[in-house]
């Protein structure tokens, strides 16, 4: 608020209107004030804010620009301006404005810190360094020196490995000076010092000296869990084995469960000696004695740590010198006997089980099965039985079964599931039933059966079963994830969305989990539903842009140096998220397909922003994959794919997929603008040609090899000749117009274009009629929608070819034959769309709702998903 009482009186009503959200009135009041005093910046800034708040960003930004020219220097105007620009993601202008204001008022500390902050928002570390030093010089606060040192350190983190790092040396010198002057006092300042030392090669001893020295003691560094852990790590790195071992045992005596300290303890045991000398070493004896004591200390309510430590120890001995298999097996059996009823038992042991010989693994399960039979009267026994079943699945006991065997096993698990229900009748709604994992395992078996037989009925059965089980465990997201995937395989996108929406996906989960519902969402033909999912997931990226930079500023304000790098990395992970780009491309496909006429589609393409549509290899490579694919339960044997992979309808979209759907709209946009054929066009064409020759992939093969479906490759294959046709026609028209000696006979041009378009037309025909088996699975939708998408692209490219002649050729009559060729191709495109429509009509009749007994799958079958086919 301005300090001038006159001004304050003027502004009060504006602030009041804004505060209650009455932005319209705010704008009116601003206008009134501006009439009397047209150059009052603060009022203009408030008007911009009112525009921004009421969603009129363009008006707001225009006003901001006006104010910027006037270079205001008062804090209120600048702060208001900054709010508007920030919400538009524009950070650069404020740097200049604060710089100017700060130079005009060199005594104003707040303006100077705002200048620093405006640089921090854009991660301009060098600029920050200079301003922080100036702040320190002018206002003499120690924290400004640390800001400067932090800014230098952050510059150092961007220096590639192996190159001399002047930033770290400089930061270290400045830090050392602060230290000798006794100014390093807090734990965060110590952390900064450690970051600088450990960022350099071979400085472990120095970092250790710092931790164990005066500041370490002063800041109680060893009471901090992280620094205590770091100290042991440094002790190990500097070979102070005894100190390290003493420190770890001290912690473990107090907390025997502390796994990372257990691992550090083992490092002090194994690292100092060669494997060959291990067998009779004192170290090994000591470790065995220590873990035995730790195990013996666990009496009532035993902790798992010491027992796992023992397994880990003997497992390592087996890996290093062998001849220890029996010991490991006995320990594993004993562990199960002790902790088999804990739900985490499978997670605890699966890693060790996977390292056993096949016979030993079988022996493990056999012995437990003999001990525990099928006893499942109590919750504990059920939990134990489920763990046992998980291990049996994991070692391959349920693999390669035939249909009869699989169905029998499913029935057995379903019976066990139902028998467990009464025990959970008093459970709260938020809890899960005790036998839920039986239902999930039965669903996994159905998925196996589907893969084996290609029949969709096991999947239908899986949905009935899971929906039923879900009614007793409303919040079991593991069931939901399987259901989502199975519904997608069945082509039932509405059902998948219904389940996904109940998971209350929020915040950063939109980045990690939304791929479950947005991957190739175009496929299902429900364009609006797909777009809704994509847009709501995209919110996270906007809030990251708006919120994370502010947090980085807070980190400076609170001097939380240890978190600075974390925030910057977090911001970058979301900013450069692969999922963000993949979903962006999917939105482009959908938005394009929603345009209901060719001319509107062309306008849409002309207006499409290309700033984000990058396809360079460097760009692809620097995307960060945050997608969570490990969240789904999986007990499949290691020799087979995980449930997550097995339930993918198509290979997971990745960089290649992203490139294809970046190159396509870029080429179309080029054509829509009738832009001259240039080097960039050639480059796009060459990328598209490479993609067109890639081999299709089966859903479960390694995603890195091939991630495009046959249909997607066909898109590329068809668009290559069309892209070339545009090129040829453009060149021919230019040559004709300038009457160049190299100009072609028009008939020759027409033939060349005809050849290209004919090769495209051949590919347009889909092979074989679509057969329906009562469900319309994902791949049928995929085939149909990709054809529709293809024709939508071709309608645009054909129109662009016609436009090229109509607007660029001086003598249009010359290209009459070319026009005829294009018209002919257009007819073929119409035919392709008609074929799709015929198929869809047939499918619609086959899958009438009454043919399906359960109402559950109504959405799959009511044909609402087919509205994407418009009359050609």
């Amino acid at each position: 608020m301005a300090s001038n009482p006159d001004l304050e009186k003027k502004l009060r009503p504006i602030y009041d209107a804004m505060e209650v959200g009455n932005y319209k009135e705010g704008v009116q009041l601003c206008n009134k004030a501006l009439k009397r005093q047209p150059d009052l910046h603060i009022v203009k800034a408030l008007k911009a804010l009112a525009f921004e708040r009421s969603g009129k960003m363009n008006e707001a930004l225009a006003l901001c620009e006006e104010i910027q020219w006037a270079k205001p220097t008062d804090e209120t105007t600048l702060r208001t301006l900054s709010m508007v620009l920030r919400s538009a993601g524009k950070y650069e202008p404020m740097i200049k404005l604060y710089e100017n204001a700060s130079k005009v008022n060199p005594k104003n500390e707040n303006l100077a810190t705002q200048w620093f902050m405006s640089l921090a928002r854009t991660l301009d570390f060098k600029g920050q360094q200079q301003v922080a030093l100036q702040l320190h010089k002018n206002f003499k606060r120690d924290n400004y020196m640390f800001w400067a040192i932090m800014s230098i350190t952050l510059q150092g983190q961007n220096v590639p490995d192996g190159q001399p790092n002047v930033f770290y040396s400089l930061a270290e010198r400045m830090m050392a000076k602060q230290n000798t002057e006794g100014k390093v006092q807090t734990i965060e300042e110590l952390q900064l010092y450690l970051i600088i030392l450990l960022g350099q090669k071979d400085r472990h001893a120095d970092a250790l000296a710092l931790l164990e020295g005066e500041i370490g003691i002063k800041t109680k560094a060893t009471e901090n869990v992280e620094l205590r852990h770091l100290r042991i790590e440094l002790l190990i790195k500097t070979g102070r084995w005894k100190d390290a071992r003493d420190a770890t045992t001290l912690i473990l005596k107090e907390n025997s469960d502390d796994w990372r300290t257990i691992l550090q303890y083992f490092e002090t045991i194994f690292l100092p000696i060669q494997d060959a000398d291990l067998k009779d070493s004192e170290n090994l004896k000591e470790a065995r004695a220590f873990t035995a004591v730790q195990v013996n200390n666990e009496t009532k309510n035993p902790k798992r740590g010491p027992f796992l430590a023992q397994i880990e120890l003997e497992h390592r001995v087996q890996e290093k010198i062998g001849d220890n298999k029996t010991t490991v097996l006995e320990l594993l059996v004993a562990y199960f006997e002790k902790f088999g009823s804990k739900t985490c038992c499978f997670e605890d042991l699966s890693n060790y089980i996977s390292k056993l010989d096949k016979e030993d693994a079988k022996e493990f399960c056999k012995r437990l099965r003999e001990t525990y039979n099928e006893k499942s009267d109590t919750v504990k026994e059920i939990s134990m039985q489920i763990n046992l079943a998980r291990f049996e699945r994991f070692i391959g006991n349920f693999s390669h079964l035939n249909s009869t065997e699989t169905n029998a096993l499913v029935n057995r698990f379903w019976k066990l599931y139902e028998e467990a229900l009464p025990l959970g009748k008093d459970l709260e709604e938020t809890e899960r039933q005790y036998g839920d994992d039986y239902a999930i395992m039965a669903a996994h078996l159905f998925i196996d059966l589907h893969k084996e037989t290609k029949s969709y009925f096991p999947l239908l059965n899986a949905t009935f079963m899971l929906e039923h089980a879900l009614s007793a465990s409303k919040h079991n997201y593991q069931m939901k994830l399987v259901l989502i995937r199975v519904y997608e395989l069945l082509g039932a996108y509405n059902c998948a969305i219904g389940v996904y929406n109940t998971m209350a996906i929020k915040n950063v989960q939109h980045d990690t989990m939304s791929h479950f519902i947005t991957d190739r969402a175009t496929t299902f033909g429900l364009f609006n539903e797909a777009l809704n999912q994509l847009y709501s997931a995209h919110e996270i990226y906007h809030s990251n842009e708006a919120e994370t930079p502010e947090m980085i500023l807070q980190a400076y304000k609170y001097s939380t140096f240890s978190k600075m790098q974390e925030f910057i990395e977090f911001q970058s992970r979301l900013e450069n998220s692969l999922q963000k780009m993949i979903s962006d491309r999917e939105m482009i496909r959908l938005e394009f397909l929603k345009e209901d006429s060719v001319s509107r589609a062309i306008t849409w393409l002309q207006e499409l922003e290309t700033g984000n549509l990058k396809y360079e290899e460097q760009f692809s490579k620097s995307r960060i994959d945050n997608r969570d694919t490990s969240v789904m339960l999986n007990w499949n044997p290691q020799s087979s794919s995980s449930v997550e992979v097995l339930t993918r309808a198509a290979p997971q979209p990745d960089r290649v997929w992203m490139t294809l759907f970046t190159v396509i709209p870029r080429i179309l946009k080029h054509m829509a603008h009738l832009t001259p054929v240039d080097a960039e066009y050639e480059k796009l064409l060459s990328i598209l040609s490479t993609l067109a020759t890639s081999a299709p992939s089966s859903p479960d093969s390694a995603p890195a090899v091939n991630e495009l479906t046959t249909e997607e490759i066909k898109l590329a294959k068809i668009l290559v000749p069309v892209t070339k046709a545009f090129q040829i026609l453009y060149t021919a028209i230019t040559a004709q117009n300038s009457n160049s000696p190299t100009k072609e006979e028009p008939a020759k041009t027409a033939t060349a274009i005809k050849d290209l378009l004919t090769s495209a037309a051949t590919l347009l025909k889909r092979e074989g009629a679509i057969k329906s088996t009562g469900v319309i699975p994902w791949h049928i939708f995929h085939s149909l929608t990709t054809t529709v998408e293809m024709v939508a692209y071709l309608n645009v490219t054909n129109q662009c070819l016609l436009n090229l002649v109509a607007t660029k050729a001086n003598k249009k009559a010359t290209f009459k034959s070319v026009n005829a060729v294009i018209q002919d191709f257009m007819a073929q495109c119409r035919q392709a769309l008609q074929a799709v429509q015929t198929d869809v009509t047939a499918l619609r009749n086959v899958v009438k709702p009454d043919r399906i007994k359960s109402g559950l799958l109504y959405e799959i079958c009511d044909g609402s998903a087919f509205d994407f086919v418009r009359s050609p």
Binding site: K342, T430, Q554
Partner: protein, 164 residues
């Protein structure tokens, strides 16, 4: 299992930890705020494979009128890892830091009366006592649902107690 300080990178797995049962719908900035302001108070528990299995998000209550005290904003343990004392360990770690770094005398938290499992954990296992009952109204889709929220408190153990 081990307990370590939460980092920003943990945000992603932490969120998956409560994929299902947490009623909270905190904005990202709320997590950020905790991590920035009191980095020593929030912890995650990892399993042997390094995966996040639980977390505690805590803060310092900024009430100048009251004694310095901490507040547990959120505590969550993955279902598979329940009944193993994970929650207790997370709480202890956070409370130790409250005591050592911020000189806290007690710690408070809110729990819904209907959340029997949580109530049992706090009251019976962690020895919290109910201090206050507050009526709260939550928008629940169709109408308003009345929920009782209990404020529970517990004294932060001093070091001597801990030794015994």
């Amino acid at each position: 299992m081990n307990i370590r300080e939460a980092t920003l990178d943990d945000m992603i797995p932490m969120q998956n930890c409560n994929l299902h049962n947490l009623p909270e719908n905190y904005q990202m900035k709320y997590y950020f705020y905790h991590s920035l302001t009191w980095p020593q108070l929030s912890y995650v528990a990892e399993d042997e494979k390094g995966r996040i299995i639980g977390y505690v998000l805590a803060k310092l209550e900024e009430d100048p009128a009251a004694e310095p005290h901490g507040h547990i904003t959120s505590l969550s343990v993955m279902r598979t890892y329940r009944r193993l004392g994970v929650a207790e360990k997370l709480m202890t770690q956070s409370q130790n830091a409250m005591r050592d770094v911020f000189n806290c005398k007690f710690v408070s938290l809110h729990v819904r009366k209907s959340n029997r499992a949580a109530l049992q954990l706090y009251r019976d296992t962690l020895k919290f006592t109910v201090q206050d009952i507050e009526k709260k109204y939550y928008a629940d889709g169709t109408g308003y649902l009345e929920l009782w929220e209990l404020e529970c408190v517990q004294d932060v153990k001093n070091k001597e107690d801990e030794m015994q």
